[in-house]
């Protein structure tokens, strides 16, 4: 099953909409609550990253009976040093974004902590692609 969502950069009021949609779908599919929680926390962080840093982005969600795979690709500045960006507390978010309660620099590591498979690639000046997978537990 496939879903596609478009994300508008800079629109914080809508940040979280995709996460809510995906959460609802996973609940309907009777996916284990702990897996839903991990997935939604990771997705929300990633969604906010697009809103905070990129111009626009696309979230592709692929669900089968065993796992959820999410691919977030954005057009944006890209990440020059991914290793550094993964460090807890490191953030390039503007003061304005921080003012809104985002950009604490926990994002990428938090996403990684909440996913089974985490893959990130980025080209400076073009954008970032983040791919995450979570396995469903068998009931």
């Amino acid at each position: 099953m496939h879903f596609t969502y478009h994300i508008e950069g800079g629109n914080f009021a809508k940040a979280g909409d995709t996460s809510s949609q995906v959460k609802k779908t996973l609940k309907q599919l009777n996916v284990d609550g702990a897996v839903i929680k991990r997935t939604v926390v990771a997705l929300y962080e990633a969604e906010v990253n697009i809103v905070a840093h990129a111009y626009e982005g696309i979230i592709d969600v692929e669900i089968d009976s065993e796992k959820i795979f999410i691919r977030l690709s954005d057009e944006g500045p890209g990440i020059p040093d991914i290793k550094k960006a993964m460090e807890v507390g490191y953030s390039t978010a503007s003061a304005e974004v921080r003012e809104m309660g985002f950009g604490a620099g926990m994002g990428l590591s938090n996403i990684q902590n909440n996913t089974d498979i985490f893959k990130i690639t980025s080209v400076v000046g073009q954008g970032t692609i983040l791919e995450i997978t979570n396995q469903f537990l068998v009931h």
């Binding site: 099953m1 996460s19 599919l29 009777n30 609550g33 702990a34 939604v40 065993e66 009931h139």
Partner: protein
Amino acid sequence: MNVCPTEAIRVSEGKARLSNNRCVDCGDCYRVCPVGAIIVEQDDFESIYKYPVRIALLPSVFAGQFTESVGPDEILGAILELGFSHVFEVEEGVEFLSGIFNEYIERTEIAKPLISPFCPAIVRLIQVKFPTLINHLLPLKAPVDITAMSVRKRFVEQGIPANEIGIFYVTPCAAKIVAVKSPVGEETSAVDGVINLNYLYNKTYKLIRGKRTHPPLPEVTTLTEKAICWSLTRGESGHIKQGRNLAIDEISNVIEFLEKLENGEIQGIDFLELRACDESCAGGILCPGNRFLTAEKLHDRARKVSQNNTEIKSALQDPNEIASFLRENMHTGKIMPRSIMKLDDSVAEAMIKMKRIYDLNRMLPQVDCGICGSPSCKALAEDIVQFGATLQQCIFVQKILEQNDKLDVRESVEIMRKIWSNTKLDKNSLKDEINEIQ
């Protein structure tokens, strides 16, 4: 049908039917139903006479229904005259509970924010819609249970056999009635019956108004400021000593907030007071008075208690004396999830159903008119897959089929009859008028 926050109502054979699984007893349908079709289950008032000792537990919002001119002693006197042998205020148990709340807040090993279990409609909402947040619910009983346990203990200690004590809770809402009839996480309830607040208000008011002279009035016990306002919005959260806390009332506000909390969008909150009704219990569906005026009256009463430095005369025995008894009995059993969201137990099956629902939903007009008997187009699509509803229940689908000679008028009328019964279709008395419109 479409005010229900959990889409628990369907119409068939002319009647609104509530799904027990989905309903959280918030009472929003009761509030809006134009024909009074939603009935609140309650105990017969006469059932109090089964017990020699008949105790009424009155919530503080009860006195808030009366005008200024009616004194608390008159209310109390009237209730005793109506047949109760003793009256206690529900919020007696509050002082004890608020201490326990603060103990929980200090514990760092439990998931925050802690969610108050005070409002039973909220507990059920979390069970059915936000099962991942169940472990945030404080595993504690409500003030009414704490008070009822204390009262019963006191009378038993005075030598009255337990089966001769009848404790009746006067309730401002439907959710509390269900909480007594089928408690969540408990085998039995601490009270023996429930009395509809509106019913008792009418009886009490009539008695007070009809009187020229009053019999000697009983002495009224007092509650603390905190206890008086506990059931109002910010009643609980205002007394949490540590960390960040929020009070949210009205069920759709609560749902909006819990959605965000569940996504991890909201962080750093330690305690949440959540209430299903606007203005909390002052806005309970069984409260006849205006909720804002009721809240004002309670705040006034609380202010007077603090200004006059009123000595608090608890009707119960020394709270310290029974604290250890209450501590042993204050916990609820495990609260289980009751998800209404899942389409099937198996993920693979659920995916097949979801695909079908998606395909069916695309054929529907998305106007959510409710004529099909389901609250929205999406809900009808789900009902087709899950509960044997049919696509032909949709009036737009009927028109499309009629255009293509796939359905004749007789058949479509029959479908409508099954949903709405004859009453909506056989307007015989108005037939001439309707025909004239042409």
